[in-house]
């Protein structure tokens, strides 16, 4: 049975009347056009579908939309529009972090959440921070370096 589900998406109040058991990823992609949320493995293993739920990264976007009722969600579309998000995006471009790109929106989200909690992470902390996000192209090294670049370039913005 359909239900009205209200939540905050990328800073705006939105609502959708739908089956509460539909997967959140499908609602975000199909009803709200958030195509940057990628489906990589359908089981929360690869991190391509990462979003931010109430300030925390969830790599299990494969949750029912009913669970989003009353919550606050940020997707790559929202994150990349922020100053912090752009700092990461530009660092990824300059640091050679991007190859096929399918994992990258999730990686940007992981970097954003990492740097928000730890503005000056070590290499090991970065590797841990993105360990829930699988990339098959890059071997991770240039992603790690790009996140370090974003930390350096962002400076104080990560402390806000």
């Amino acid at each position: 049975m359909d239900m009205k589900i209200c939540f905050k998406l990328n800073g705006k109040d939105v609502s959708v009347t739908t089956d509460p058991l539909r997967r959140l990823i499908d609602v975000l992609r199909e009803d709200f056009g958030c195509k940057g949320v990628k489906e990589g493995c359908s089981e929360g293993e690869c991190g391509a579908c990462s979003i931010i739920l109430n300030g925390k990264m969830v790599t299990r976007c494969i949750i029912p939309v009913g669970a989003a009722d009353g919550q606050e969600i940020m997707t790559i579309e929202g994150v990349s529009a922020t100053e912090k998000g752009q700092t990461i995006v530009q660092a990824f471009a300059d640091g050679g972090a991007v190859q096929c790109g399918f994992c990258i929106p999730g990686m940007v989200i992981a970097a954003y959440c990492l740097l928000n909690g730890n503005p000056d992470p070590t290499e090991d902390e970065i590797r841990l921070g993105i360990s829930g996000n699988i990339c098959r192209c890059t071997g991770y090294d240039l992603i790690v370096e790009s996140i370090r670049l974003a930390a350096k370039r962002g400076g104080d913005i990560w402390k806000k």
Binding site: K35, Q99, F102, C135, L142
Partner: protein, 724 residues
């Protein structure tokens, strides 16, 4: 302006859009008016289809099989060989073979109907492994002997050398399946438009699809227009396999007179897609009284699966690379592509070369170790050089910089000290491997078969468009090719347009495969830009065109496999250091260092990224990427049970290059996308076997296998089985 050395890194043109989540992959398009399709596949590895029972079909839904191929059409897919059927007819050869496609307007209903299709089989005994295939278990189903294809190479006089040898040893080296795990799964949509069809696909080779599937409807390839959509990783897994996805869509779109779309989820993709060929290489090596190699004979068997498709070419490349970076006085290789009842194996980064390179590297280590010699010192005796004879009786054309690369890697890794201090069986080990990869199609294939063409068009506003069929799948070609054109024309890279190919508007410059795109198509674009340059300022709107021309004087006979197999090899040296936990057998990789010769690099950061990714993918193949096939079924069907490397599994890599410009490449560049995969597994296994003091002759090597070797393995110094 692109000034100075072309190697200097630029921003990838696609980086920002991909990072912002704005890049559209095929499943990001709505294809709003299209029907949904889902394949019904064989659930058994071998048998006869007795009957197909369909559920009650609502209006607008249909189950499409080979019977829906129109008169004059052919139920096959052309993938180098033309033996893989689009739809099974009376029999099935492997689990996952397409039997039909369920189509209709509602996705959930299509899925529900698909699940209710019941196939009645008369089951037969399958042959799953190479040995079972060779033994014709259940009766041969290909050529009376289950040999899909074979070849033989002979250099010198192996028989005479064996007769004189002091000792002949034999050893078998094996490798397993590997799954590509491109992050974006397979997907496509086929839409009828007037007298033709348009296919949108995540794919490496758009012209391959047109040519492969158009015979289904008995139409010419130009009636099946393919538009590639930004592809989220491929690694060979989207070289021929998209034909298997798009063929049924084309037949369905023709029947329904509507577009049909289909996107695999991960489980469907892993269970029902091509893999890297498992291999078994048996060496017979003759040694003189001082332990030097006098002759090496190898029997190379690849598990091809149910259909041949591209596998003969994979086997050829495997056999050409079985002597690695070495010159042995006498060499003989026999290759067999073995038919089994598994999903057909196909292209995967390296295309047959990694298996034999792993085999020869490992075998050489073992011969050295049984004599108590450091494997590196032993391998050094046989390094191939410019002018030396190859496994196909051709010559190495270029300068081989292995000594220089070795020096870089030894220095960076502190190899000499570690190799001396880490005693065999001490729990610490460092390993080293040597590898190469012949760039582009074999022999004169680029001229005889591919006949690549490119166009460069100048618009009145000064922009230039590159027209070719190369695809971007992550490797950076959307940046590399415009960079080459911009550099020659001395214009900003932003003025160069290079869109995803549409087969109705670009010339066929060949597949995006075989490490050929930069080396071959890059040169065509470089040449086109040089032709354009003197006219660029004077003329407003014009096109220049270039075609591939093979250098004279390097003969190749594709029937006998004799001559110059490759003009430009990429070369690599890789060292890996490990530590083994004596209680848990868990391996920690402490360091990875590699040096590569890719000619003159077009973009050092893009190449660096390729090295990082390729080396890591090779380490996954050699260590914990376990893909088993039991009774014809893949046992690992999700990313929870097929494990690929994460950011935590390996340390940051030391990446080095040597400068060795390639005469016929753009700005001296050679192919390198596959090269970088080819050697890390051998270095890793060398390191682990030294650390545990046991001989390892099979990959993958998950922790439980390490434990098995530690408890029950053969000592690293033990003699190898002698046949005389």
């Amino acid at each position: 302006m692109v000034a100075g050395d072309i190697s200097k890194a630029v921003r990838r043109v696609d980086a920002v859009s991909k990072s912002e989540g704005k890049t559209r992959y095929v499943s990001d398009y709505d294809f709003a008016d299209c029907l949904w399709g889902r394949l019904v596949r064989s659930s058994i590895p071998r048998g006869i289809i007795r009957a197909i029972h369909l559920p009650e079909m609502p209006e607008g839904y249909r189950f499409i099989t080979y019977k829906d191929i129109p008169e004059g059409g052919h139920n096959w897919l052309h993938m180098i060989a033309t033996d893989w059927k689009c739809f099974a007819e009376n029999d099935v050869r492997y689990v996952g073979e397409t039997i039909g496609i369920m189509v209709g307007p509602d996705k959930a209903t299509v899925e529900d109907l698909r699940q209710k299709v019941v196939i009645d089989y008369e089951e037969q005994v399958p042959a799953v492994t190479i040995d079972e295939g060779l033994a014709c278990k259940g009766g041969a189903f290909v050529n009376g002997n289950n040999i899909h294809c074979s070849l033989k190479l002979d250099v010198g006089n192996v028989d005479e050398a064996f007769a004189k040898a002091d000792k002949i040893v034999t050893e078998t080296i094996e490798t397993g399946f590997q799954e590509h795990i491109y992050l974006e799964t397979n997907g496509a949509c086929c839409i009828p438009e007037g007298d033709h069809f348009v296919v949108y696909a995540s794919a490496q080779c758009p012209f391959y699809i047109s040519r492969s599937i158009s015979p289904l409807l008995n139409v010419t390839p130009d009636k099946v227009i393919v538009r590639q959509i930004t592809t989220g990783g491929a690694f060979g897994g989207k070289e021929h396999f998209p034909d298997v996805v798009c063929g049924p869509l084309l037949v369905a779109a023709n029947v329904m007179k509507k577009g049909v779309k289909m996107f695999f989820d991960r489980e469907e993709d892993i269970e029902n897609s091509v893999k890297r060929h498992p291999s078994k290489v048996v060496f017979k090596t003759g040694l003189d009284k001082d332990g030097n190699i006098t002759a090496m004979e190898s029997t190379v068997c690849y598990n091809v699966g149910g259909y041949l498709s591209s596998s003969f070419v994979v086997l050829q490349r495997g056999c050409f690379h079985v002597t690695g970076c070495y010159l042995f006085p006498n060499m003989r290789t026999t290759g067999y592509g073995v038919a089994t009842n598994t999903f057909p194996s196909c292209a995967f980064r390296g295309f047959g070369a990694p298996q034999t390179l792993f085999a020869v590297e490992t075998h050489l280590c073992h011969i050295a170790e049984m004599q108590g010699i450091d494997p590196l010192e032993y391998k050094k005796r046989y390094f191939i050089k410019q002018g030396d004879t190859t496994s196909t009786n051709g010559k190495i054309v270029e300068r081989v910089m292995i000594p220089e690369m070795l020096e870089q890697v030894m220095k960076a890794s502190d190899y000499e000290r570690k190799s001396r201090e880490y005693k065999w069986g001490s729990g610490k080990g460092i390993g080293i491997s040597f590898y190469n990869h012949g760039g582009a199609f074999t022999g004169n294939g680029e001229q005889a078969i591919i006949k690549a063409r490119t166009k460069l068009h100048k618009f009145a506003d000064g922009r230039v468009e590159i027209l070719c069929s190369q695809t971007e799948m992550g490797q950076g070609f959307h940046t590399i090719l415009p960079k080459i054109a911009a550099h020659v024309l001395e214009i900003p890279i932003e003025k160069v347009i290079f869109e995803d190919p549409d087969t109705s508007r670009v010339p066929d410059s060949g597949p995006t495969a075989a490490s050929r795109s930069t080396m071959i198509v890059g040169e065509l674009v470089e040449r086109a830009a040089r032709l354009m340059k003197p006219r660029y300022a004077k003329e407003e709107d014009f096109t220049v065109e270039t075609c591939y021309e093979h250098p004279e004087g390097y003969p190749w006979d594709q029937n006998t496999f004799q001559g110059y197999a490759y003009l430009g090899y990429g070369w690599g040296v890789c060292a890996v250091e490990v530590e083994v936990d004596p209680c848990t057998a868990e391996i920690t990789t402490k360091g990875i260092w590699s040096s590569h010769d890719a000619g003159h690099l077009i973009d050092e950061r893009i190449v660096h990224g390729q090295v990082n990714g390729g080396v890591l993918q090779g380490l996954g193949w050699g260590s914990f990427e376990v893909m088993e096939n039991r009774d014809g079924h893949f046992r690992q069907t999700s990313m929870s049970d097929y494990i690929v490397p994460t950011s935590m599994d390996y340390p940051k890599q030391g990446v080095y290059f040597v400068e060795n410009p390639y005469e016929w490449g753009p700005f001296g560049a050679k192919g390198m996308g596959e090269l970088v995969f080819n050697g890390s597994a051998a270095a890793y296994i060398d390191a682990v076997s030294r650390a545990i003091g046991k001989r390892i002759s099979r990959i993958p090597l998950p922790t439980e296998e390490v434990m098995g070797y530690m408890l029950h393995g053969t000592d690293i110094k033990a003699g190898i089985e002698e046949v005389r």
